[in-house]
Amino acid sequence: MNYIALKMLMGDRGKYLGIVMGLTFASLIMTQQPAIFVGLMARSFSFISDVGLPDIWVMDPKVQFVDDIKPLQDTELYRVRGVEGVDWAMPLYKGMIKARLYDGTFQTCNVTGLDDTTLIGGPPVMLKGKLEDLRRSDGVIVDIDGARDKLAKKPATSGGKPVPLDIGDTLELNDRRAVVVGIAKNTRTFQSQPIIYTTYSRAMLYAPRERKLLSFVLVKAKPGEDIARLVQRIRDSTGLAAYTQDEFKTLTVNYFLKNTGIPINFGISVLLGFIVGAAIAGQTFYNFTLENLRQFGVLKAMGTSNWVLLRMILLQAVLVGSIGYGMGVGLTALFGYAMRNTILAFKFPWQLLVFSATGVTLIVAFAALISIRKVIKLEPAVVFKG
């Protein structure tokens, strides 16, 4: 009977394709949109990932996410260093500083100041120059996207292409000279400003005069130290906020989830995909059953049980569901692959496979259910009706 069920379904090309395409659409939307969403959300904490090395981030207790800078007294660094179980603790400056470009225009930049001796917290990838070059006088490292775009020099000839900022070029940060000594590649963040790396002490000079300038204290635990316990000890003894790397990422993501319209926008897209997919696929599947009602009636009259008919419909549903799901997920993967070198955010963790599988299953189960109901209630005597 399985064979009959499959032939019944696939023999009706038009409907079969309609159902599969509806499900493909639903599955595509339910995978691709969340993948973009997850990609975007991951950008909120890519600075934390890029810094990478430290186990624990220490900051002002009022900080809500990674770009929400509430500076600390410099002395806090020494208090953290004094906590038992801390292997090392380094200062990190993060802040917005106006840069004066060649042509006299200003551009706000996202400046990161790294501990002078260890340079911990540097960019993940150096494209030109070395991180150590920061030790040269007035040295700064600029990210490639900023160098090519917002910090680029005027075209040599009018109408030509802007010239990317390169090693040896100079900028002015807060009236102080800065020389580009390296070009880095950063993971994209929500911020569109150019990213500039320099040493902590030089950042203090570039930054506007303020009483407190220390943004974060980065902590590495001693080998074998229980990180959660150490976090608690730091909190207790300094009164500051301390988070593990993952906790700080979660804090940041949650802030964006709660305080921006992003989740709602994507939620609506996904819901629409689900509804449209359910409407097309569900409706076509149900129509398919309705059109075949007479055939089901004939099978019933000839002695096929409701149980067997139910299994036939389920099989049809599982088949179109699997194909639609597979195509949708496949298209999403293709999409992600095609977009891998663009500005578009895209992340495809396995949880999304489960998510869209659940969505497609719901649609298919619903379509199968109303169809099965119809077939089970069908009186076999209809076969003799004209």
Partner: protein, 245 residues
Amino acid sequence: MTTPELAVKCRQLVKTYDTGDQKITALQGIDLDIHMGELMMLVGPSGCGKTTLISIIAGILDQDSGQCDVFGVDWLHLSSKDKLLFRAQNIGFVFQAYNLLPTLTAAENVAVPLIINGVKRQLAVRKAAELLEKVGLGKRAESLPSQLSGGQQQRVAIARSLVHNPRLIVCDEPTSALDHQTGIHVIELLKSVAVTSDRALIIVTHDARIFDYADRIAKMDDGHIDSVAVVTQHSQFNKEVEDVT
């Protein structure tokens, strides 16, 4: 015993349809016997209850009261599971509109009753193809119903009604959708391959051209059996029935 074994025995069969706003009594006490080896035709004006009667006989509709034994078993006494099994094994169906599964080939369509009875598909289709040979469609086993003429489709349907070797075949207006010549071919086919001594056929029809092929004809009117006549002098009976309808 000279009387042949009874295939169908109906006594005081009553069936009322309740459509909500009105009750239609389609059968008002039917008494009817159908013998093994016989071809019984059921005739009568439209709406007199013919389809209702064969639906009950075929076990796809329950009567309100009265008795309907098929091979000594009353449908009402069977569990729904046993009913399905009994239908699957003992009843063959032929419909006015053929009712073939449009996406299955002729041979696969014919194989359906065997598959329902648990026969493996390959074997069922092989048997079906043999039977198609018998109804003169050996070369069309792989055709889809849409590629066949009406008469050919009905021959496929007849093969389907026979393939599992059922003891009772019910046909509702099997020739009504066909032209004269094709209709005659179909009834001749039924008469020659379907009628055997261990099987009974009941054919609902208002097609006077095929009355000659019946062994007996039951005339129905308004939920009753008016008369049951043995067909001996064909032409004379034809006239008589034509007057009635």
